[in-house]
C-alpha cells in the first residue's frame, strides 16, 4: 500500500466512525482532566468533533508526515484556537497537549478493527498516526507558549503604563507622578513616555512629581535633566516637585546643576507656579477686589 492509500483509508476510517471515536475520546479526556471545570463539557465535545472532521479532511490529502503542509492549515488553526483559549483560561501546557494525545487510544482501537487481518498494514498505519499525533501535540504546546509569552509582554506594557500615570491638572498643565525605584533602563523608557504624553496632550507645562521615588542616583538625575532639556526643545517646560530632604541632599552631593530648573517641595506649590506661568490665577470667593 502506498502512503496515499494509507492516508485515504485512515481518513475514511475516521469519517465513518467519527461518532464512536469522538465519544471514546471525550470519555478519555473527562477521565484524565483534573480541572474539568476549565473547559465545559459542551465545549469539549464541540472541539473534539471539529478536530476529528478536520483531521479526516487533512488526512485525505495524503501528507501525513508534514503538518506544515497547507492541507493541515485547518487543523493547525483549530489547534491554535483551542490552545490559545486554554492558555488564557489557565490550563497547563500538558492539559492542552493531552487533548491531542488522548485521541491515540480511541483511534488505535478503531484502526485495529479496520485493519483486522492485516498486521503489517495495522503496524504501519499505527506508527504513522502515532507520529502525526505527536507532532500535532507538540504544535499545541508551542502555540500555548507563544500565547503565554504574548500575555507576559502585554502585562509588562501595562505595568509600564501604570508607572507613568498622567493627570491633567488644568488646561495645558500635566502632572506626571513617578512611582517606584527608577533604574537607568526604566528611567529612559519612562522619560520617553513623559515626552510623548506632552506631545499627545499639547501641554505647556509638565510637573514631574518624584514623591514616590525613594532614591535618586546620578544616572536618574541626569536623565531627569535631559528630559527637561528635551521638553524645552520641543516647546514645553517642566517643573520638578516632591523633592524630599534626602533626595535634595543627594542631588547637591552629586553636583547636579538645577539652576535653571524650577523645583518645588510639593505638587501643590508646583501647580500654583504652573498656573501663574500659563496666565491663570485662582481667586477665593468673598475676597476683596
Amino acid at each position: 500500500m502506498t502512503n496515499q492509500d494509507y492516508a485515504t483509508r485512515i481518513s475514511q476510517l475516521i469519517q465513518d466512525h467519527q461518532a464512536d471515536i469522538g465519544a471514546q475520546w471525550v470519555a478519555q479526556l473527562e477521565a484524565l482532566t483534573v480541572r474539568s471545570s476549565v473547559v465545559s463539557r459542551e465545549q469539549l465535545r464541540s472541539h473534539c468533533q471539529q478536530f476529528l472532521a478536520a483531521l479526516s479532511n487533512a488526512a485525505r490529502a495524503g501528507e501525513l508526515q508534514n503538518i506544515e503542509h497547507r492541507s493541515w492549515d485547518e487543523v493547525r488553526d483549530l489547534l491554535s484556537e483551542i490552545s490559545s483559549a486554554r492558555a488564557k483560561s489557565g490550563s497547563t501546557p500538558s492539559e492542552t497537549a493531552t487533548f491531542v494525545f488522548s485521541l491515540k487510544q480511541p483511534l488505535f482501537a478503531q484502526m485495529s478493527k479496520g485493519f483486522a487481518g492485516d498486521a503489517e498494514g495495522l503496524a504501519n498505519a499505527s506508527w504513522t498516526i502515532n507520529t502525526l499525533l505527536d507532532k500535532l501535540g507538540l504544535f499545541t504546546i508551542e502555540t500555548f507558549q507563544r500565547t503565554r509569552d504574548q500575555i507576559i509582554v502585554r502585562q509588562q506594557q501595562e505595568l509600564l503604563e501604570l508607572s507613568t500615570p498622567v493627570v491633567k491638572l488644568w488646561d495645558g498643565i500635566l502632572a506626571l507622578p513617578l512611582i517606584g525605584t527608577l533604574d537607568s533602563a526604566r528611567t529612559q523608557v519612562v522619560m520617553e513616555n513623559i515626552l510623548q504624553k506632552i506631545v499627545d496632550t499639547g501641554a505647556a507645562i509638565a510637573i514631574i512629581d518624584i514623591t514616590g521615588v525613594p532614591t535618586v542616583d546620578t544616572l536618574v538625575a541626569q536623565h531627569l535633566m535631559k528630559t527637561i532639556a528635551a521638553a524645552r526643545l520641543m516647546g514645553a517646560d517642566c517643573i520638578i516637585s516632591g523633592i524630599r530632604p534626602q533626595i535634595a541632599q543627594t542631588i547637591v552631593h552629586l553636583g547636579v546643576n538645577l539652576e535653571d530648573v524650577t523645583t518645588k517641595a510639593s505638587l501643590a506649590d508646583a501647580f500654583v507656579v504652573a498656573l501663574e506661568r500659563t496666565g491663570t490665577a485662582i481667586v477665593k470667593h468673598g475676597a476683596k477686589a
Binding site: L233, M234, G235
Partner: protein
C-alpha cells in the same frame, strides 16, 4: 534640485519640512527664507518640523542661522512639532538651538508669534 515650498499667510511665512534634506537643500532653504522675509516683508517665520524624524547638527545650525538672520531682519522665528525622539537625540548630541523659540504645534507656534514676547 527640489526646493522646499514656503507659504505666505499674511505677514507670516510658513515652511513645512517633509523630506529628508541633504545639506544643499537645507542651505537653499535658508537662503530662500531669508530672501522671502525681505521680499514679502514678513514679520514671522514658522518652521514645522513635525515630519522630521532626524535633526542633525547641520540642520540644527541651519535652523539657528535662519532664526538669527530673521531677527536681524526684524522677524521672529518659531520652530514647531519637534518629535520626542529627535529632542532626546539633540540633547544627547549637545545641540541647544539657543535663541530659537519652539512650540509643540502650529497652533501654539502661531499664538507665540502673535504675542509680543520676543
Amino acid at each position: 534640485m527640489d526646493r522646499i515650498p514656503i507659504l505666505r499667510m499674511g505677514d507670516l511665512l510658513l515652511v513645512t519640512i517633509q523630506v529628508d534634506m541633504h545639506d544643499r537643500l537645507a542651505m537653499t532653504l535658508q537662503d530662500d527664507l531669508t530672501e522671502r522675509i525681505v521680499s514679502d516683508g514678513a514679520k514671522g517665520v514658522l518652521i514645522d518640523i513635525s515630519a522630521l524624524d532626524l535633526v542633525d547638527s547641520f540642520i540644527g545650525r541651519m535652523i539657528s542661522n535662519t532664526a538669527a538672520m530673521a531677527r536681524v531682519l526684524d522677524a521672529r522665528t518659531v520652530v514647531v512639532g519637534m518629535q520626542p525622539a529627535v529632542a532626546i537625540t539633540l540633547v544627547e548630541l549637545g545641540l541647544t538651538l539657543h535663541g530659537v523659540k519652539t512650540a509643540l504645534n502650529v497652533e501654539k507656534g502661531m499664538a507665540l508669534l502673535g504675542k509680543n514676547i520676543f
